[in-house]
């Protein structure tokens, strides 16, 4: 295994482009090192991205968008004074990843690119409408994060490409988001189901919504039918029931030791309702 720590994206792309065999990028290493040590994946080329200029910062751009560097840890996101006020659901979802020790290292980009169907921050990113800058030999293109994971452990990134930043849209007025997961314990476990809701209000009526589910299909899902159940309502009982039905209908889960198909499908509806209530209250609290 060759270890590289380039100082620029240009160099990182050049190293990745010239590499043969298996290449991995090293952000927090909380997936890469576990897979390395368990002999699941031993990369031929390991490219540490943490020495690249500018990757450790969280910045609010002139238009209100947030730019999150690819080496920003979960702990740094939680400690940021303003990011969590704009996007509490996204920050809480990332904060659910692992222990204090894992939070000191794990990144949002790593959680996305490891492409686990149960990754906690991914439904929150889908719901928020996060965009990734993808940099490769041909330059940089913007890709919605919904198009990055393609299956368990698989992404749409081409050889030689890496994510160079994540962009969270400006929060704007009357918006709120929330993410909830079900685990049998209170900490240190993998989601049996996860659900994120992001919405905007016009008065008390929901004018925009995005609903995403995790751990119920090979990738996180964006569920437009669930969003439609919310739009135009004031989150009354009928809307909540329609939301739960749409969420449950979208599930294509597996049976495993963590949960059965029936359980996961039911819990998806329950979590969708709870997350929608939290997002709605948050949106109402914002001027």
């Amino acid at each position: 295994m060759q270890y590289h720590s380039p100082g620029s994206f240009e160099d990182a792309v050049a190293i990745a482009g010239a590499a043969s065999g298996t290449t991995r990028f090293l952000a927090g290493g909380t997936d890469v090192l576990v897979q390395l040590r368990a002999d699941i994946v031993t990369p031929d080329t390991l490219i540490d991205v943490k020495k690249i200029e500018g990757v450790r910062s969280i910045t609010r751009e002139a238009d209100g968008d947030w730019r999150i560097g690819i080496a920003v840890s979960g702990a740094e996101m939680s400690e940021h004074p303003e990011l969590g006020a704009d996007w509490p659901g996204l920050v809480e979802a990332m904060d659910l990843v692992g222990s204090t020790q894992i939070q000191g290292r794990a990144t949002l980009t790593g959680n996305l690119c490891n492409a686990s169907p149960a990754a906690d921050s991914v439904p929150a990113m889908f719901a928020a409408g996060v965009i990734a800058s993808v940099t490769g030999p041909q330059g940089t293109r913007q890709v919605p994060v919904t198009e990055i994971p393609t299956g368990p452990g698989k992404t749409s990134l081409k050889p030689g490409e890496l994510i160079s930043a994540l962009h969270v849209p400006a929060r704007g007025a009357r918006g709120g988001d929330a993410y909830l997961r079900f685990i049998p314990r209170t900490e240190m476990d993998i989601a049996v189901v996860g659900c994120a809701v992001n919405l905007r209000l016009d008065g008390d009526t929901i004018s925009e919504a995005r609903v995403s589910l995790g751990a119920v299909a090979p990738t996180a899902l964006l569920v437009p039918e669930a969003a439609e159940a919310l739009i135009g309502t004031t989150l009354d009982e009928a809307a909540l029931e329609a939301l739960a039905t749409a969420a449950a209908d979208a599930c294509k889960p597996i049976d495993d030791k963590r949960g059965t198909v029936k359980f996961r499908t039911h819990v998806a509806g329950v979590l969708a309702k709870r997350a929608a209530r939290i997002a709605y209250d948050r949106a109402r609290a914002r001027a």
């Binding site: 295994m1 290493g29 040590r37 943490k50 692992g98 204090t100 020790q101 894992i102 290292r105």
Partner: protein, 159 residues
């Protein structure tokens, strides 16, 4: 395979070592630098026995490569006592018998020191969540939590 040359700081001292690309910081600390305080419980980030701080941030040294230590500052349990004088947390852990086999203890001490530096007045719930990634198979945690709460109170009074 050619080895990687790393220059770093461990417990305030400048340190140099050679390591393989696959070697973890935990391997380096234990096998190359003879700092055997950090323990390997699982090697997969679950148990926290290998906890150290990296630039002041609590991490599992089993999930950091030795090569990543270049230019960083590492602190381990060996740096907690001042010569013969134990850190208040170490004293309290003895007083409360907050350890039995002791395998988890270095990691828990490093983790709780990092907590008290950030938050000198944590609630019991905060201590328990902070330590969720530090497993102890012996004590049942209660004595550990009480030792931490009492140390925090003493340290607040002393400051």
């Amino acid at each position: 395979m050619s080895k990687i040359h790393v220059t770093t700081t461990v417990n305030g001292d400048a340190v140099e070592f050679l390591c393989d690309a696959r070697e973890t910081l935990l391997d380096v600390l234990r096998d190359r630098l003879n700092l055997t305080g950090a323990k390997e419980g699982c090697g997969t980030g679950d148990c926290g026995a290998c906890s150290v701080t990296l630039d002041g941030r609590l991490v599992c040294s089993c999930l950091v490569l030795g090569a990543e230590a270049e230019g960083r500052e590492i602190a381990t349990v060996e740096g907690m006592a001042n010569g013969e004088e134990l850190h208040p947390l170490q004293q309290k852990f003895i007083e409360y018998a907050a350890l039995q086999c002791g395998i988890c203890t270095p990691g828990i001490l490093v983790a709780t020191k990092a907590l008290l530096e950030r938050n000198p007045d944590p609630t019991e719930t905060e201590v328990r969540y902070w330590l969720a990634g530090n497993l102890c198979r012996c004590t049942g945690y209660d004595k550990i939590i009480r030792a931490v709460m009492d140390t925090a109170a003493d340290m607040r009074e002393a400051s």
